[in-house]
Symmetry: C2
Subunit: 382 residues, 2 copies
């Protein structure tokens, strides 16, 4: 076509629709690679199936006129040129590796939605000011190789390329070896790649949108996380001969604290979350009063200040319970992930997009431990 339409024209933009059927077809075609009997997908990072998936996605990108750059950890950047190619690209993307019992949409949707946007821009002959890139990040699920979110982590220098290369799967095959084998070690130094703004479309992993009957969640940030190990020490004793008044039952004290973890979340609304997911009782015998109970505490909230308030809250409660019962309660912080508020302009762009196109929407926070967004945010301007 000879007439280029610029993306500054809001009238044109507001009438644009992606081709939903085409996006669906692509999702279904990609989902055939590693399809499971139950309708899901098992396409673990750096397997033959992952190579097939990468090959298909990059072929689609090439067919849509995009250039493909691979970096040394196998992250792919599929680029559609803009009018001013000295600008950092507007990037979207996700991952195409899956969990062993993964679904068709987790990750894959974020990548293919990006390609569909490019296809739609092509259909309407629209030129954007900045280039657009669609990324796929390597081994983001982390089910074959640890650490999880490896590609974005190396990109953001959360850990080194060497550290990632050395990771081995259960068959003692290393990331480097497998990347080489499937032909996905590229020339670019991870991180040597400008990003203007980064958006990621993702299927919701929680029940909030469905519960609120909304189509679009406008994610305003990622919850901060505090992980603790809590240990209550009592006195192991026989359940029969030991009267109630003489017991030091570690589990009875621990369960009071477990109740308080949830109460603490309710005391810090609307985003406070408190979970005890793991409990280990010693000696875990039917007729023995537990002498020691260890359990995990997972606290989350939308800002670091809120996380700190929950930290102080649960520690104060534990101190009070310990004083009342006479049993020591130890709370150790084992991991801490900062809350990550997203860029206000980007949030507004997503919200406006949903409104313009007439999709029901609501603000949402991402409660998952999406280090990818935190890491990428550290690489972005503003």
């Amino acid at each position: 076509m000879d007439t280029k339409v610029t993306s500054n024209n809001t009238d044109v933009i507001s009438k644009l629709r992606v081709n939903g059927d085409r996006l669906w077809q692509s999702l279904m075609e990609l989902a055939e690679i590693g399809a499971t009997a139950k309708g899901g997908v098992c396409r673990l990072a750096l397997t033959d199936l992952d190579k097939q998936g990468r090959d298909l996605v990059t072929r689609w990108a090439t067919e849509a006129g995009m250039s493909v750059t691979i970096d040394k950890i196998g992250n792919g950047f599929m680029r559609r040129a803009g009018r001013n190619n000295s600008l950092a690209p507007i990037m979207t993307g996700s991952h195409i590796d899956t969990q062993p019992t993964g679904g068709k949409f987790d990750g894959n949707y974020g990548v293919l939605a990006g390609i569909e946007v490019v296809r739609t821009l092509n259909d309407h002959n629209i030129e954007t000011e900045a280039p657009i890139e669609v990324a796929f990040w390597t081994n983001e699920e982390g089910s074959r190789f640890v650490p999880v979110m490896m590609g974005s982590g190396v990109f953001a220098k959360a850990f080194t390329l060497e550290h990632a290369y050395a990771a081995k799967d259960n068959d003692n095959k290393s990331v480097k070896q497998e990347l080489e084998r499937i032909g996905y070690i590229g020339p670019e130094e991870p991180g040597d790649h400008p990003i203007g703004h980064y958006f990621e479309t993702h299927i919701e992993q929680g029940p909030v949108l469905e519960d609120n009957d909304k189509t679009i969640g406008v994610v305003t940030g990622v919850l901060g996380i505090r992980w603790y190990d809590c240990t209550v020490t009592g006195m192991e004793a026989h359940a029969g001969p030991t009267p109630m008044a003489l017991r030091k039952d570690a589990l009875q004290v621990a369960t009071r604290v477990m109740q308080e973890v949830v109460a603490c979340a309710h005391r810090h609304p609307p985003h406070g979350r408190g979970t005890v997911g793991m409990v280990n009782v010693h000696p875990n015998s039917r007729n023995v009063i537990p002498g020691e109970v260890k359990f995990s505490i997972d606290l989350r909230n939308a800002s670091d200040a809120d996380c700190e308030a929950m930290d102080a809250d649960i520690r104060a409660v534990a101190a009070r319970v310990s004083e009342e019962t006479g049993l020591p309660i130890k709370i150790d912080l084992v991991s801490s992930y900062p809350a990550q508020p997203f860029n206000a302009d980007c949030i507004e762009a997503v919200r406006r997009g949903a409104e313009t196109l007439g999709y029901s929407h609501m603000d949402a926070v991402s409660g998952a431990g999406t280090m990818r967004s935190t890491w990428l945010a550290s690489r972005l301007p503003g």
Copy 2:
């Protein structure tokens, strides 16, 4: 001696004292067989060490003028004749096998205290009306062979001799094979042995006497026991993306019931006991809201009526919690041991003995699962 003293003479009896030093010496000598570095004893049933222990104890009995009968499961009955040997013997005893990390006194004290009584009667030339017997029961600890309390169980026909004979240890050696090897299969049919009354002296396995600063516990019976498995079913979900209001957290509901198990015991004083000893959380992962929690409940009380009242109490509480939370709570009774009140005359004899001899004492219930007393009670008159 030519003058026999009869045991009907209370003046004589009230002045009688066992020889504490001699009893202590015997305890220490027996404890050398299988002595452990930490001061305990490891003398598992039907081992060479058990044979040495049995040989020593029966030698002491013979030296004290007693006759020894062994039955087919290896129970030993060491008999001092009375004036009227057609009367059923007054029996005492316990076991001399130990746990792998057993102590010097558990079981052994009950047997050697019986022998010391006989030695003391001999010293004072006292003839009792009925014969006296001191028993040692085979494999009462059950740490090498299952079932526990095997000798008294076969004696009381709680299970068959064949069942006990077939039990095997970890090295695939059977009870019968090991009994034959150490030479302790006797001619008597288990159970073909009259018992008039049965007393058992036992070191306390709980903290009550020490806490009350008393020397003698006058045991009035054995607590009834109810064992349950409780299952709370929720909905497994990610700790991050799932807001508090949309959760079905099985652990939060389970911990409420666990708190109530102890509260239930306090609602049924003075003998009510409630213990949660075992907890299994699924999937037991730090950042996953538990979808299912299984835990044990151990309820005990002094009468079957009290046990039934606790049963109804905890089931009502669980039903209320289930209704309030919407999560199913299943409570399955897995084992039930009836309460065993002891014979009133026997209890009074023990109490009077302690009073006569000036020992501090208190009534006590046995909270341990002493099936031996229940089984033997079923064989006794009255």
